[in-house]
């Protein structure tokens, strides 16, 4: 219990420092959100002054930070500057479903195939198969996600015309299409971005699972299980794999943030209306409140991912709790 409280306190402190660092960094780099509003360059100095006042940009930075914190504690991240009339929470909420859909699909594919391939490699450690899969994973890791996305979009979308190359649904679909048609359409749009992200991210899962499993297969309990005459299947999945779960939990904690931000490149290649793209646009437009909103969310996920991984690790392996 004491360990739990310390760890949660630590996580909150880390989060608070991260938010402060992000705010300082954002406001200390040059730039202003106003040019993005004024594409034709027609604002008079008086108008600019009025906008600056409206968004409190005329205040000293510590005042702005304090006001941001006060509002954030009430769950109010302020209005977006670029998207006049919309709140930051509203904009994030609108993008959340697409991001979560892509993120969960990738996590599912990544962990299903990554774990399975890693276990398979460990069981046949040193074989041709093991070496081949190692080479495959390290090669997949070497592919830039945006280039793989562009290449897949070119092949499957433009050359073979099998799948749509962008967006989340068909823009010419009839508004009263039934649920089945909509689902098929959604899945067709999801395939290429999800495949791209899973391919470039699977290497870490395979590698971690492989080494954790190799270590687990050397435990004494495995020898015991084998000598008891258990089937190889039971030895591998019931005895060894359970002991190889710890590092996977850590990895899962590291991957959690992909749900929010790890996808800027793939989202931009496939024009996927997710949070990564929203954040990148916000940064380009210097839309300060929106930048803080998206950064806050991803910092929260990073910290939370680490916390969850730690706690799960403790539950899986009682030895960790003693530390």
């Amino acid at each position: 219990m004491r360990r739990l409280l310390t760890r949660v306190g630590q996580a909150l402190l880390t989060f608070a420092i991260a938010v402060t660092l992000a705010f300082l960094l954002m406001r200390l780099t040059p730039g202003s959100p106003l040019p993005a509003l004024d594409e034709q360059n027609r604002f008079t100095p008086a108008q600019e002054e009025r906008l600056r006042k409206l968004y409190r940009l005329d205040q000293p930075i510590q005042v702005q930070y304090w006001e941001f914190l006060q509002a954030a504690f009430d769950g109010n991240l302020g209005p977006s500057i670029r998207y006049t009339g919309q709140t930051v929470t509203g904009l994030i909420a609108a993008r959340l479903p697409a991001t979560l859909l892509l993120g969960f699909t990738v996590l599912l594919l990544n962990f299903t195939f990554g774990t399975w391939l890693g276990v398979w490699q460990a069981v046949r450690e040193g074989s041709r198969l093991d070496q081949g899969l190692s080479l495959l994973s390290i090669s997949l890791y070497a592919i830039p996600s945006f280039w793989l996305g562009l290449t897949l979009a070119w092949l499957f979308g433009l050359e073979w015309r099998l799948l749509p190359v962008g967006g989340i649904h068909d823009i010419v679909m009839s508004p009263n299409a039934d649920l089945g048609t909509r689902t098929v359409d959604l899945v067709r749009h999801l395939i290429l971005p999800a495949a791209t992200l899973s391919a470039v991210s699977i290497a870490a899962t395979m590698r971690h699972q492989r080494s954790a499993m190799i270590e687990a297969l050397r435990l004494d309990c495995i020898r015991t299980a084998r000598s008891k005459g258990l089937s190889e299947r039971q030895v591998i999945f019931h005895h060894a794999w359970r002991n190889a779960l710890g590092p996977m939990v850590t990895l899962f904690g590291l991957w959690l943030p992909i749900l929010a931000t790890g996808t800027v490149f793939v989202e931009s290649v496939f024009n996927w209306p997710g949070l990564g793209l929203l954040a990148a646009e916000a940064i380009g437009n210097r839309d300060y409140p929106l930048i803080m909103g998206t950064t806050l969310l991803s910092a929260a996920l990073v910290v939370l991912g680490g916390l969850i991984a730690d706690l799960l690790h403790g539950m899986l392996d009682p030895r960790v709790q003693a530390l």
């Binding site: 190692s134 070497a142 562009l150 070119w154 080494s211 940064i283 990073v302």
Partner: protein, 277 residues
């Protein structure tokens, strides 16, 4: 996995390391020799969007420049950026990790909480925030930015090594003999922490290669007309259907280079860090 008894003696005896070295050697050789036999990478002297042929093995781009020449020049630039950035990151990371681990106490707490917090902010956001604010992005600025956003993991690693080594007999012995702090740090801690540091730095080169390509693809990395692989992919984007080679070859160059560096990192890991697979 290799344990201490079967640990490979040198990186050359590991399959991954050897293939990585050969591959990277070939890339470096190509990057150095090709520019002298190929047409100038800046010359807009040929037909535009010519398909690959004997005269232009990778074809030509929209401005009629030889793509192979630009890919070779891009190799020099990409390798220079990533090596430079990792050097910056390793230096800052080692300094911070040594300070935190050696001094301990509140210095350690403050530094490590800050590093944790910095790790929670996506590196790409920070890079976009700073690079998008600049009118021009000179190469040294890009290198420093990539380095300044890449040292957090290194500092953690070095700190952990220092904490581990602090309780080793030889450090205690050196201290008992009256060795100064700087002597303990430079003669005992750094050489003993070098193995994991070198492995991490090599793998970081691969990461920075990918990151720089991504930034250049977004138009926020290497600025045209200086050729970069990411930037060439961006240039070739509108011609994906009529001239697929335009995007294809710079992309393959990234894949092969990152693969070579990762293989070397893998070989080094097997050689230098015996207790991890």
């Amino acid at each position: 996995m290799t344990d201490a008894t079967t640990r490979p003696r040198s990186i050359w005896t590991t399959g991954a390391g050897r293939s990585g070295i050969v591959l990277l050697g070939l890339i470096a050789l190509a990057a150095v020799t090709l520019p002298s036999i190929l047409p100038d990478y800046r010359a807009m002297a040929f037909g535009h969007l010519l398909p690959p042929s004997g005269a232009h093995p990778f074809g030509t781009d929209y401005h009629g420049r030889d793509i192979l020449a630009r890919v070779a020049r891009g190799a020099q630039i990409s390798l220079m950026i990533s090596l430079g950035a990792v050097l910056v990151a390793a230096t800052i990371g080692t300094a911070v990790g040594l300070l935190a681990g050696y001094l301990g106490g509140w210095v350690d707490s403050v530094l490590m909480r800050t590093v944790d917090a910095a790790l929670a902010i996506p590196r790409l956001f920070v890079l976009l925030l700073v690079l998008a604010a600049l009118d021009r992005i000179p190469l040294p600025v890009l290198i420093v930015m990539l380095g300044a956003t890449g040292w957090f993991g290194t500092s953690r690693l070095v700190r952990a090594e220092v904490l581990r080594l602090r309780h080793e007999g030889f450090v205690a012995a050196a201290r008992a003999l009256g060795a100064a702090d700087w002597r303990i740090i430079f003669r005992h801690l750094i050489p003993n922490a070098a193995g994991p540091l070198i492995v991490a730095a090599t793998l970081a080169v691969a990461d920075v290669l990918l990151l720089e390509a991504g930034l250049s693809y977004l138009g926020l990395g290497v600025q045209p007309p200086t050729p970069s692989w990411g930037g060439m992919i961006l240039d070739g984007l509108p011609f994906r259907s009529e001239a697929p080679w335009f995007c294809l070859f710079p992309g393959l160059a990234i894949v092969i280079t990152v693969l070579a560096v990762s293989l070397i990192g893998d070989g080094l890991r097997q050689t230098l860090t015996p207790d991890r697979a």
